[in-house]
Symmetry: C2
Amino acid sequence: MEYPSKLLTQVIDEIAKLPGIGKRTALRLALHLLKQPVEQSENLSQAILQFRTGIKHCRVCHNISDTEVCDICTDRSRNHNLVCVVEDVRDVMAIESTGEYRGVYHVLGGLISPIDGVGPSDLSIAALINRLAEEPVEEVVLALSATVDGDTTNFYLYRKITTLALPPKVSTIARGIGIGEELEYADEVTLARSILNRVPFEKSIKQQ
Amino acid sequence: MEYPSKLLTQVIDEIAKLPGIGKRTALRLALHLLKQPVEQSENLSQAILQFRTGIKHCRVCHNISDTEVCDICTDRSRNHNLVCVVEDVRDVMAIESTGEYRGVYHVLGGLISPIDGVGPSDLSIAALINRLAEEPVEEVVLALSATVDGDTTNFYLYRKITTLALPPKVSTIARGIGIGEELEYADEVTLARSILNRVPFEKSIKQQ
Protein backbone atom coordinates (compact mmCIF):
# COMPACT_ATOMS: atom_id res chain seq x y z
CA MET A 1 0.00 0.00 0.00
CA GLU A 2 1.16 3.53 -0.67
CA TYR A 3 1.15 6.07 2.13
CA PRO A 4 0.64 9.78 1.51
CA SER A 5 3.77 10.78 3.46
CA LYS A 6 7.43 9.71 3.71
CA LEU A 7 7.46 10.27 7.48
CA LEU A 8 4.41 8.03 7.84
CA THR A 9 5.96 5.33 5.61
CA GLN A 10 9.13 5.45 7.68
CA VAL A 11 7.42 5.13 11.07
CA ILE A 12 5.17 2.31 9.78
CA ASP A 13 8.20 0.41 8.43
CA GLU A 14 9.99 0.70 11.77
CA ILE A 15 6.97 -0.22 13.94
CA ALA A 16 6.11 -3.18 11.67
CA LYS A 17 9.57 -4.66 12.33
CA LEU A 18 8.34 -5.54 15.83
CA PRO A 19 7.11 -9.13 16.19
CA GLY A 20 3.36 -9.65 15.81
CA ILE A 21 2.76 -6.15 14.42
CA GLY A 22 1.85 -5.82 10.75
CA LYS A 23 1.70 -2.72 8.55
CA ARG A 24 -2.01 -2.24 9.21
CA THR A 25 -1.54 -2.25 13.00
CA ALA A 26 1.52 -0.02 12.63
CA LEU A 27 -0.58 2.52 10.72
CA ARG A 28 -3.24 2.41 13.43
CA LEU A 29 -0.61 2.99 16.14
CA ALA A 30 0.97 5.88 14.21
CA LEU A 31 -2.41 7.57 13.69
CA HIS A 32 -3.15 7.07 17.39
CA LEU A 33 0.09 8.86 18.35
CA LEU A 34 -0.90 11.72 16.06
CA LYS A 35 -4.10 12.26 18.07
CA GLN A 36 -2.23 12.27 21.40
CA PRO A 37 -0.11 15.14 22.79
CA VAL A 38 3.41 15.42 21.34
CA GLU A 39 4.80 14.58 24.81
CA GLN A 40 3.55 11.00 24.55
CA SER A 41 5.53 10.37 21.38
CA GLU A 42 8.56 12.13 22.85
CA ASN A 43 8.40 9.97 25.99
CA LEU A 44 7.93 6.78 23.98
CA SER A 45 10.80 7.64 21.66
CA GLN A 46 13.10 8.52 24.56
CA ALA A 47 12.12 5.48 26.66
CA ILE A 48 12.96 3.10 23.79
CA LEU A 49 16.35 4.70 23.20
CA GLN A 50 17.26 4.93 26.91
CA PHE A 51 16.20 1.32 27.47
CA ARG A 52 18.13 -0.09 24.53
CA THR A 53 21.33 1.88 25.14
CA GLY A 54 21.25 2.08 28.93
CA ILE A 55 20.20 -1.40 30.04
CA LYS A 56 22.84 -3.67 31.54
CA HIS A 57 23.08 -7.41 32.08
CA CYS A 58 23.96 -8.48 35.62
CA ARG A 59 27.61 -9.61 35.69
CA VAL A 60 26.70 -12.62 37.86
CA CYS A 61 23.34 -13.98 36.68
CA HIS A 62 22.98 -12.20 33.28
CA ASN A 63 19.49 -10.97 34.13
CA ILE A 64 18.70 -7.48 32.80
CA SER A 65 19.43 -4.80 35.38
CA ASP A 66 20.12 -1.09 35.82
CA THR A 67 23.32 -1.87 37.73
CA GLU A 68 26.44 -4.01 37.17
CA VAL A 69 25.15 -6.62 39.63
CA CYS A 70 21.38 -7.03 39.97
CA ASP A 71 19.27 -6.64 43.14
CA ILE A 72 18.75 -10.40 43.49
CA CYS A 73 22.47 -11.21 43.27
CA THR A 74 23.37 -8.52 45.83
CA ASP A 75 20.65 -9.67 48.27
CA ARG A 76 22.61 -11.38 51.08
CA SER A 77 19.42 -12.81 52.61
CA ARG A 78 18.98 -15.13 49.63
CA ASN A 79 20.50 -18.60 49.33
CA HIS A 80 23.43 -18.21 46.92
CA ASN A 81 24.11 -21.97 46.95
CA LEU A 82 20.86 -22.62 45.06
CA VAL A 83 20.87 -21.49 41.40
CA CYS A 84 17.76 -21.62 39.20
CA VAL A 85 18.53 -21.68 35.45
CA VAL A 86 15.87 -19.92 33.30
CA GLU A 87 15.45 -18.82 29.72
CA ASP A 88 14.85 -15.10 30.18
CA VAL A 89 13.81 -12.29 32.50
CA ARG A 90 10.11 -13.16 32.17
CA ASP A 91 10.75 -16.50 33.88
CA VAL A 92 12.62 -14.76 36.71
CA MET A 93 9.62 -12.44 37.16
CA ALA A 94 7.17 -15.38 37.11
CA ILE A 95 9.13 -17.34 39.74
CA GLU A 96 9.69 -14.23 41.87
CA SER A 97 5.96 -13.49 41.87
CA THR A 98 5.30 -16.88 43.55
CA GLY A 99 7.29 -15.66 46.58
CA GLU A 100 8.38 -19.28 47.23
CA TYR A 101 11.92 -19.26 45.86
CA ARG A 102 14.76 -17.79 47.93
CA GLY A 103 17.74 -18.88 45.83
CA VAL A 104 19.41 -16.96 42.99
CA TYR A 105 19.13 -17.23 39.20
CA HIS A 106 21.10 -17.72 36.03
CA VAL A 107 19.48 -16.31 32.89
CA LEU A 108 20.53 -18.12 29.68
CA GLY A 109 19.09 -15.49 27.32
CA GLY A 110 17.40 -18.14 25.16
CA LEU A 111 17.37 -21.87 24.48
CA ILE A 112 19.57 -24.04 22.25
CA SER A 113 17.65 -24.24 18.98
CA PRO A 114 19.41 -25.77 15.95
CA ILE A 115 16.45 -24.77 13.73
CA ASP A 116 16.73 -21.08 14.69
CA GLY A 117 20.55 -21.27 14.56
CA VAL A 118 20.99 -20.71 18.29
CA GLY A 119 23.94 -22.69 19.67
CA PRO A 120 25.42 -22.94 23.19
CA SER A 121 27.88 -20.13 22.44
CA ASP A 122 24.99 -17.70 21.81
CA LEU A 123 23.77 -18.21 25.38
CA SER A 124 25.37 -17.51 28.76
CA ILE A 125 26.16 -21.23 29.28
CA ALA A 126 29.96 -20.84 29.54
CA ALA A 127 29.36 -18.17 32.19
CA LEU A 128 27.13 -20.58 34.13
CA ILE A 129 29.76 -23.35 34.05
CA ASN A 130 32.46 -20.90 35.21
CA ARG A 131 30.17 -19.69 37.97
CA LEU A 132 29.52 -23.27 39.17
CA ALA A 133 33.27 -24.03 39.08
CA GLU A 134 34.14 -20.96 41.17
CA GLU A 135 31.24 -20.58 43.60
CA PRO A 136 30.22 -23.19 46.20
CA VAL A 137 26.82 -23.91 44.59
CA GLU A 138 25.04 -26.95 46.06
CA GLU A 139 22.09 -27.33 43.70
CA VAL A 140 21.15 -26.20 40.21
CA VAL A 141 17.41 -26.17 39.36
CA LEU A 142 16.78 -26.36 35.61
CA ALA A 143 13.53 -24.41 35.03
CA LEU A 144 13.26 -24.39 31.24
CA SER A 145 10.16 -24.81 29.07
CA ALA A 146 8.97 -28.38 28.42
CA THR A 147 9.61 -28.04 24.68
CA VAL A 148 12.07 -29.68 22.28
CA ASP A 149 14.44 -26.72 22.65
CA GLY A 150 14.01 -26.76 26.42
CA ASP A 151 14.80 -30.47 26.63
CA THR A 152 17.82 -30.10 24.33
CA THR A 153 19.17 -27.33 26.53
CA ASN A 154 18.43 -29.33 29.70
CA PHE A 155 20.47 -32.30 28.44
CA TYR A 156 23.34 -30.12 27.23
CA LEU A 157 23.51 -28.31 30.59
CA TYR A 158 23.29 -31.58 32.54
CA ARG A 159 26.21 -33.08 30.62
CA LYS A 160 28.30 -29.92 31.06
CA ILE A 161 27.55 -29.62 34.78
CA THR A 162 28.23 -33.27 35.63
CA THR A 163 31.70 -33.09 34.05
CA LEU A 164 32.76 -30.44 36.57
CA ALA A 165 35.37 -31.44 39.17
CA LEU A 166 32.88 -30.91 42.02
CA PRO A 167 29.48 -31.04 40.36
CA PRO A 168 26.46 -29.64 42.24
CA LYS A 169 23.20 -31.56 42.48
CA VAL A 170 21.04 -30.98 39.37
CA SER A 171 17.26 -30.95 39.64
CA THR A 172 14.42 -29.87 37.38
CA ILE A 173 11.05 -28.31 38.18
CA ALA A 174 8.16 -30.76 38.64
CA ARG A 175 5.93 -31.55 35.65
CA GLY A 176 2.37 -32.62 36.36
CA ILE A 177 -1.28 -31.68 36.40
CA GLY A 178 -1.73 -27.98 37.09
CA ILE A 179 -3.65 -26.81 40.17
CA GLY A 180 -7.32 -26.45 39.15
CA GLU A 181 -6.77 -28.45 35.97
CA GLU A 182 -9.06 -31.39 35.15
CA LEU A 183 -7.43 -34.80 34.93
CA GLU A 184 -9.38 -36.00 31.90
CA TYR A 185 -8.11 -33.13 29.73
CA ALA A 186 -4.41 -33.58 30.56
CA ASP A 187 -2.20 -35.07 27.84
CA GLU A 188 -0.83 -38.62 28.37
CA VAL A 189 2.81 -37.60 28.82
CA THR A 190 2.01 -35.10 31.54
CA LEU A 191 -0.37 -37.50 33.28
CA ALA A 192 2.20 -40.33 33.11
CA ARG A 193 4.87 -38.07 34.60
CA SER A 194 2.55 -36.90 37.36
CA ILE A 195 1.98 -40.56 38.37
CA LEU A 196 5.64 -41.58 38.12
CA ASN A 197 6.76 -38.55 40.14
CA ARG A 198 4.01 -38.83 42.75
CA VAL A 199 4.65 -37.17 46.15
CA PRO A 200 3.70 -38.38 49.67
CA PHE A 201 0.22 -37.09 50.54
CA GLU A 202 1.41 -35.55 53.84
CA LYS A 203 3.91 -33.42 51.89
CA SER A 204 1.29 -32.17 49.41
CA ILE A 205 -1.02 -31.14 52.31
CA LYS A 206 1.72 -29.09 53.92
CA GLN A 207 2.27 -27.14 50.67
CA GLN A 208 -1.30 -25.93 50.49
CA MET B 1 4.13 -7.12 38.22
CA GLU B 2 7.52 -5.82 39.29
CA TYR B 3 10.27 -5.42 36.74
CA PRO B 4 13.95 -5.78 37.63
CA SER B 5 14.92 -2.45 36.04
CA LYS B 6 13.67 1.15 36.00
CA LEU B 7 14.52 1.54 32.31
CA LEU B 8 12.51 -1.58 31.51
CA THR B 9 9.55 -0.38 33.62
CA GLN B 10 9.65 2.98 31.84
CA VAL B 11 9.71 1.55 28.30
CA ILE B 12 6.92 -0.94 29.15
CA ASP B 13 4.75 1.87 30.58
CA GLU B 14 5.20 3.94 27.43
CA ILE B 15 4.64 1.09 24.95
CA ALA B 16 1.56 -0.11 26.88
CA LYS B 17 -0.06 3.33 26.37
CA LEU B 18 -0.58 2.35 22.72
CA PRO B 19 -4.06 0.99 21.94
CA GLY B 20 -4.40 -2.80 21.98
CA ILE B 21 -0.99 -3.34 23.62
CA GLY B 22 -0.92 -4.54 27.22
CA LYS B 23 2.00 -4.74 29.66
CA ARG B 24 2.73 -8.34 28.74
CA THR B 25 3.02 -7.57 25.03
CA ALA B 26 5.03 -4.43 25.83
CA LEU B 27 7.52 -6.57 27.77
CA ARG B 28 7.78 -9.00 24.85
CA LEU B 29 8.44 -6.12 22.43
CA ALA B 30 11.06 -4.56 24.73
CA LEU B 31 12.89 -7.89 25.11
CA HIS B 32 12.75 -8.33 21.33
CA LEU B 33 14.41 -4.95 20.81
CA LEU B 34 17.12 -5.99 23.25
CA LYS B 35 18.01 -8.97 21.03
CA GLN B 36 18.19 -6.81 17.88
CA PRO B 37 21.05 -4.44 16.93
CA VAL B 38 21.01 -1.04 18.68
CA GLU B 39 20.39 0.61 15.26
CA GLN B 40 16.86 -0.84 15.10
CA SER B 41 15.86 0.83 18.36
CA GLU B 42 17.57 4.06 17.30
CA ASN B 43 15.69 4.06 13.99
CA LEU B 44 12.37 3.26 15.66
CA SER B 45 12.87 5.97 18.28
CA GLN B 46 13.85 8.54 15.65
CA ALA B 47 11.05 7.60 13.23
CA ILE B 48 8.41 8.07 15.95
CA LEU B 49 9.75 11.48 16.94
CA GLN B 50 10.24 12.70 13.35
CA PHE B 51 6.75 11.53 12.39
CA ARG B 52 5.02 13.13 15.35
CA THR B 53 6.84 16.46 15.19
CA GLY B 54 7.36 16.72 11.42
CA ILE B 55 4.03 15.60 9.95
CA LYS B 56 1.75 18.25 8.46
CA HIS B 57 -1.95 18.35 7.65
CA CYS B 58 -2.76 19.45 4.09
CA ARG B 59 -4.09 23.02 4.22
CA VAL B 60 -6.87 22.16 1.73
CA CYS B 61 -8.11 18.63 2.53
CA HIS B 62 -6.61 18.08 6.03
CA ASN B 63 -5.09 14.73 5.03
CA ILE B 64 -1.69 14.04 6.59
CA SER B 65 1.13 15.10 4.32
CA ASP B 66 4.83 16.02 4.23
CA THR B 67 4.02 19.34 2.53
CA GLU B 68 1.67 22.28 3.14
CA VAL B 69 -0.66 21.06 0.38
CA CYS B 70 -0.81 17.32 -0.31
CA ASP B 71 -0.05 15.50 -3.57
CA ILE B 72 -3.72 14.82 -4.30
CA CYS B 73 -4.77 18.46 -3.85
CA THR B 74 -1.93 19.71 -6.10
CA ASP B 75 -2.74 17.15 -8.84
CA ARG B 76 -4.32 19.23 -11.61
CA SER B 77 -5.43 16.10 -13.52
CA ARG B 78 -7.95 15.30 -10.78
CA ASN B 79 -11.51 16.61 -10.64
CA HIS B 80 -11.49 19.35 -7.99
CA ASN B 81 -15.26 19.83 -8.29
CA LEU B 82 -15.89 16.43 -6.71
CA VAL B 83 -15.05 16.19 -2.98
CA CYS B 84 -15.19 12.92 -1.05
CA VAL B 85 -15.59 13.35 2.72
CA VAL B 86 -13.87 10.61 4.78
CA GLU B 87 -13.05 9.96 8.41
CA ASP B 88 -9.26 9.59 8.21
CA VAL B 89 -6.20 8.88 6.06
CA ARG B 90 -6.91 5.13 6.02
CA ASP B 91 -10.13 5.73 4.10
CA VAL B 92 -8.28 7.92 1.59
CA MET B 93 -5.76 5.09 1.08
CA ALA B 94 -8.54 2.51 0.70
CA ILE B 95 -10.41 4.56 -1.91
CA GLU B 96 -7.16 5.46 -3.73
CA SER B 97 -6.22 1.78 -3.96
CA THR B 98 -9.42 1.09 -5.96
CA GLY B 99 -8.08 3.39 -8.71
CA GLU B 100 -11.69 4.33 -9.59
CA TYR B 101 -11.99 7.75 -7.93
CA ARG B 102 -10.50 10.82 -9.63
CA GLY B 103 -11.94 13.55 -7.41
CA VAL B 104 -10.33 15.09 -4.30
CA TYR B 105 -10.90 14.50 -0.58
CA HIS B 106 -11.76 16.16 2.68
CA VAL B 107 -10.51 14.37 5.80
CA LEU B 108 -12.64 15.05 8.91
CA GLY B 109 -10.15 13.55 11.37
CA GLY B 110 -12.86 11.56 13.17
CA LEU B 111 -16.63 11.28 13.52
CA ILE B 112 -19.08 13.18 15.71
CA SER B 113 -19.45 11.00 18.80
CA PRO B 114 -21.32 12.41 21.82
CA ILE B 115 -20.33 9.33 23.88
CA ASP B 116 -16.60 9.89 23.26
CA GLY B 117 -17.04 13.66 23.68
CA VAL B 118 -16.20 14.45 20.05
CA GLY B 119 -18.22 17.39 18.74
CA PRO B 120 -18.28 19.13 15.34
CA SER B 121 -15.68 21.67 16.51
CA ASP B 122 -13.15 18.87 17.12
CA LEU B 123 -13.28 17.93 13.42
CA SER B 124 -12.41 19.82 10.25
CA ILE B 125 -16.10 20.46 9.49
CA ALA B 126 -15.92 24.29 9.55
CA ALA B 127 -13.00 24.07 7.10
CA LEU B 128 -15.12 21.87 4.78
CA ILE B 129 -18.03 24.34 4.83
CA ASN B 130 -15.67 27.26 4.11
CA ARG B 131 -14.11 25.27 1.28
CA LEU B 132 -17.51 24.53 -0.26
CA ALA B 133 -18.51 28.19 0.04
CA GLU B 134 -15.33 29.41 -1.71
CA GLU B 135 -14.60 26.72 -4.30
CA PRO B 136 -16.92 25.78 -7.19
CA VAL B 137 -17.58 22.25 -5.88
CA GLU B 138 -20.37 20.44 -7.75
CA GLU B 139 -20.78 17.30 -5.68
CA VAL B 140 -19.87 16.14 -2.17
CA VAL B 141 -19.70 12.34 -1.61
CA LEU B 142 -20.15 11.39 2.03
CA ALA B 143 -18.08 8.22 2.52
CA LEU B 144 -18.33 7.62 6.26
CA SER B 145 -18.74 4.34 8.14
CA ALA B 146 -22.27 2.93 8.40
CA THR B 147 -22.29 3.27 12.19
CA VAL B 148 -24.26 5.42 14.61
CA ASP B 149 -21.43 7.98 14.69
CA GLY B 150 -21.13 7.84 10.91
CA ASP B 151 -24.86 8.47 10.45
CA THR B 152 -24.85 11.30 13.00
CA THR B 153 -21.98 12.97 11.15
CA ASN B 154 -23.69 12.40 7.78
CA PHE B 155 -26.86 14.16 8.95
CA TYR B 156 -24.94 17.03 10.55
CA LEU B 157 -22.89 17.56 7.37
CA TYR B 158 -25.97 17.34 5.15
CA ARG B 159 -27.78 20.03 7.15
CA LYS B 160 -24.72 22.30 7.14
CA ILE B 161 -24.07 21.87 3.42
CA THR B 162 -27.67 22.42 2.32
CA THR B 163 -27.83 25.75 4.17
CA LEU B 164 -25.05 27.17 1.97
CA ALA B 165 -25.99 29.94 -0.51
CA LEU B 166 -25.11 27.70 -3.49
CA PRO B 167 -25.14 24.18 -2.07
CA PRO B 168 -23.43 21.41 -4.08
CA LYS B 169 -25.14 18.09 -4.73
CA VAL B 170 -24.69 15.72 -1.75
CA SER B 171 -24.42 11.97 -2.32
CA THR B 172 -23.36 9.01 -0.18
CA ILE B 173 -21.58 5.79 -1.12
CA ALA B 174 -23.82 2.83 -1.99
CA ARG B 175 -24.68 0.33 0.73
CA GLY B 176 -25.50 -3.21 -0.33
CA ILE B 177 -24.34 -6.79 -0.56
CA GLY B 178 -20.56 -6.97 -1.01
CA ILE B 179 -19.08 -8.58 -4.12
CA GLY B 180 -18.54 -12.28 -3.39
CA GLU B 181 -20.80 -12.12 -0.34
CA GLU B 182 -23.61 -14.64 0.10
CA LEU B 183 -27.12 -13.23 0.17
CA GLU B 184 -28.40 -15.47 2.95
CA TYR B 185 -25.78 -14.23 5.43
CA ALA B 186 -26.42 -10.51 4.84
CA ASP B 187 -28.25 -8.62 7.60
CA GLU B 188 -31.80 -7.43 6.90
CA VAL B 189 -31.02 -3.70 6.81
CA THR B 190 -28.26 -4.12 4.24
CA LEU B 191 -30.39 -6.48 2.13
CA ALA B 192 -33.39 -4.11 2.28
CA ARG B 193 -31.19 -1.19 1.20
CA SER B 194 -29.68 -3.19 -1.64
CA ILE B 195 -33.19 -3.90 -3.00
CA LEU B 196 -34.45 -0.31 -2.53
CA ASN B 197 -31.35 1.12 -4.24
CA ARG B 198 -31.27 -1.42 -7.07
CA VAL B 199 -29.42 -0.40 -10.28
CA PRO B 200 -30.29 -1.13 -13.93
CA PHE B 201 -28.75 -4.46 -14.97
CA GLU B 202 -27.02 -2.90 -18.02
CA LYS B 203 -25.22 -0.47 -15.74
CA SER B 204 -24.01 -3.22 -13.37
CA ILE B 205 -22.63 -5.22 -16.33
CA LYS B 206 -20.62 -2.24 -17.57
CA GLN B 207 -18.95 -1.86 -14.15
CA GLN B 208 -17.58 -5.39 -14.18
